[in-house]
């Protein structure tokens, strides 16, 4: 059933080809607009606009008496803009918060739409069969004409996004700066909202009121995992949206008789979940790996530090048990770190009266000395951060950097001595214990 020839046969069916190109175009355009909506934290707006489109579509049908996609679009745009104005009015002039305003406008507009819909149904000449499609979406019933309308609107959306890319970028990330440049940010915001309405309305026919929100948000949320750049995110979001549209359509035509819209949504969600888990840097796996890496390094540093501190107290053996109880390191992690250090030739394990004792090799003592010196230098730097200057912090994350710049070393050494924290034993010195610094 899932063989390539089968897919080929399905694609050569003109009806399927129309549906497929329609859903793919839809995924592309709503992916691009959705990325902006996502970054403007307007994800739920797609849901609201989809519901608010219903009264507009009904009104357009009542006024014109025809089931013309273009009039539906106009009607839906008008009620969509009214809905977004209602939301901003409510949040501005009352103490209701945005989420309440969204839910309120969504449900009241939709209720009004239902009232209009039943009015149409009760009219003697009311042939509302085409209107129901907008509620649940019927991608399978898309015909050439619908795809032409959808395709040209989608293309228009893409071209507009390309032309206004810089302005929308400013709107998403630094609206205040945009305003200071003299750009009409409020008008741009409204314009973006208009584009969102258009994307939602052309999606309605394929996915229906509830699910069109997914076409807007899910590909954008998935794309966000893969990149930190807006242009890459837009392209990815469009591609993932188109991919979901194609996958959903292919599955629905392959014999199960599933509805296409929901399958597209499920495909988009699967793409989102895969992105969440597998994306490099931001994905869950990458994060888990980084965390384990940090833990491993920390455990290793702890062991070396403990050995060195014992050495400072004139003991050169440490029990494994004392390590795990003192630093609250999970025993499996500790064992693994010990094994690794032994493998590197830095550590030796000795059995003494049934207890496992650790000691370092010559290379291990060197590494321990370096680790302790670095840790203590960082420590005193943190205590005197304001006097020394913040050159050691990473400018992006604010975290302390690994390498300490050379020009800071003399001052930090002075501070170490001042606090009596200088490492008191140097592995390469024959004398063993020393009072001063060697470096």
């Amino acid at each position: 059933m899932f063989s390539l020839e089968n897919i080929g046969a399905h694609l050569s069916d003109p009806n399927t080809a129309w549906v497929l190109s329609g859903t793919m175009l839809l995924g592309l355009s709503s992916g691009v607009i959705g990325a902006f909506a996502f970054l403007r934290k307007r994800s739920l707006m797609g849901d609201v606009l989809a519901h608010a489109a219903l009264p507009g579509i009904c009104l357009a049908f009542m006024l014109t008496g025809t089931k013309n996609s273009f009039f539906f679009l106009i009607g839906a745009i008008i009620t969509g803009v009214l809905a977004s104005m209602a939301i901003s009015t409510i949040t501005r002039f009352s103490r209701l918060k945005e989420d309440t305003a969204l839910g309120l406008v969504l449900s009241v507009f939709f209720g009004f739409g239902i009232v209009l819909l039943t009015q149409i149904q009760h009219q003697p000449n009311g042939n509302q069969s085409g209107l129901d499609q907008f509620l649940f979406g019927q991608a399978a019933s898309l015909v050439g004409e619908d795809v032409w309308v959808m395709g040209s609107v989608a293309l228009l959306l893409l071209v507009i996004t390309f032309l206004f890319f810089k302005e929308f970028k400013l709107l998403c990330f630094d609206a205040g700066f945009g305003r200071s440049l003299g750009l009409p940010m409020a008008a741009l915001d409204l314009f973006l909202m208009l584009l969102l309405v258009v994307a939602v309305v052309i999606g309605l026919q394929a996915a229906g009121v509830v699910l069109v929100a997914a076409l807007i948000v899910t590909p954008a949320a998935a794309a966000r995992y893969w990149t930190e750049r807006l242009d890459v995110m837009l392209i990815l979001s469009a591609l993932l949206g188109g991919l979901s549209g194609a996958l959903g359509t292919l599955f629905s035509t392959m014999g199960f008789n599933f509805p296409t819209g929901p399958l597209i949504v499920v495909a988009a969600t699967v793409v989102f979940m895969l992105s969440m888990v597998f994306a490099p840097r931001r994905g869950l796996l990458a994060k888990a790996w980084r965390l384990s890496q940090v833990r491993r390094e920390a455990t290793r540093d702890r062991i070396l530090q403990a050995l060195y501190e014992a050495r400072e107290q004139n003991e050169d053996l440490v029990t494994v048990e004392s390590l795990s109880s003192r630093y609250a390191i999970p025993s499996r992690q500790l064992e693994r770190a010990v094994r690794n250090l032994v493998g590197e030739g830095w550590l030796q394990v000795k059995d003494q009266a049934g207890e496992r004792m650790l000691t370092a090799t010559a290379a291990g003592w060197n590494a321990a000395y370096e680790t302790v010196l670095h840790a203590r230098l960082t420590e005193v730097w943190m205590m005197h951060e304001n006097e020394v200057g913040s050159t050691i912090r990473d400018s992006d994350t604010g975290a302390v950097r690994e390498d300490i710049p050379d020009e800071l070393l003399p001052e930090l050494h002075k501070l170490l001595v001042l606090h009596g924290r200088e490492p008191r034993w140097h592995p390469n010195s024959s004398k063993g214990f020393e009072g001063g610094m060697q470096s």
């Binding site: 996502f38 934290k41 307007r42 519901h51 509805p259």
Partner: protein
């Protein structure tokens, strides 16, 4: 017959509005919206198991999926997905799964998407329950009544805890109140109430009853007790006005009840004695007049 519809609508509105107050105060209004959609697969699963729409299984299935939805939203948010995107992704996915399941088992079950989503309160009086040979009234009324009773009892028992959790979650945690448990109890109640109300007003109009009466009440008072009471009154009023409007317009009753609730909200928005737009404007104008008059009269 009309009375039955009004009473059922009022009970739906009171049960939802009551819980909606907490949702609004905790800024979870859209989570309520999400839950009301996400319970769909729960309904289908329960329907497949029990073969009917009247069982306790349905409430349990819905509660399970409502909680799953809440849990997923929370997990995604914690993983760094924006809160609004987390809500959208979760509920659309669960809803899509529900729709696919309905179309998959459409032959085995008589479960109409139209029916589940939009409900038809006009049929409520015809679908009655018989117990030991006695006709005890419309089924939907009993189900909604049970859900209302359940939330009244739970909210009554947990009132103090809910209040603290709603207004000051940090303090609640400091006092040793299980904040997360209370959160899930509230969401479970929302799921159960949503499902119980499905049959009469449908999934999407439940959202209106969850949010609009509570929002109206929030504009009229500053006390939680009064807010709960006012939301109930607003719910009952919208049920009555909505029914009357539906008769007059010959349109969907549930839709009209929503529109009526919306109109009541607009009234509160404009004329609330505390926070109304027009009220504040009048107060400001009279203040301005008195000050200018005062300046004129001053020498």
């Amino acid at each position: 017959m009309g009375m039955t519809i009004i009473v059922t609508g009022a009970m739906v509105a009171v049960a939802c509005g009551f819980l909606g107050c907490f949702l609004i105060l905790r800024r979870l209004a859209m989570v309520g919206d999400a839950i009301s959609h996400a319970v769909l697969p729960g309904i289908v699963v329960a329907y497949l198991f029990s073969g009917s729409l009247e069982s306790v299984w349905m409430l349990l299935g819905a509660a399970a999926f409502g909680l799953l939805c809440t849990f997923l939203i929370q997990t995604l948010s914690q993983q760094g997905v924006q809160h609004d995107a987390a809500i959208s992704v979760t509920f659309t996915f669960l809803f899509a799964v529900g729709v696919i399941m309905i179309s998959l088992f459409a032959r085995q079950v008589h479960l109409d998407l139209d029916h589940v989503l939009y409900g038809e309160i006009a049929y409520v009086p015809f679908n009655t329950w018989t117990l030991f040979g006695w006709e005890i009234g419309p089924r939907a009324m009993w189900i909604v009544g049970a859900a209302l009773f359940l939330s009244l009892v739970v909210v009554g028992l947990l009132y103090k805890e809910l209040k603290v959790v709603t207004f000051d979650p940090q303090m609640a945690a400091a006092l040793g109140i299980p904040v997360l448990l209370i959160h899930y109890v509230l969401m479970g109640l929302v799921s159960v109430t949503t499902v119980a109300s499905f049959e009469s007003v449908g999934a999407i109009l439940v959202v209106a009853m969850l949010i609009v009466p509570g929002a109206t009440a929030y504009l009229l008072t500053d006390k939680l007790e009064w807010m709960l009471a006012i939301s109930a009154v607003v719910g009952i009023l919208s049920s009555i006005c909505g029914y009357w409007m539906a008769l007059w317009l010959d349109a969907s009753i549930a839709g009209c009840m929503t529109v009526a609730a919306g109109l009541l909200f607009i009234l509160a928005f404009l004329f609330s004695p505390l926070h109304g737009v027009v009220t504040r404007w009048l107060v400001r104008r009279s203040l301005r007049l008195t000050t200018t008059n005062g300046e004129k009269n001053a020498p």
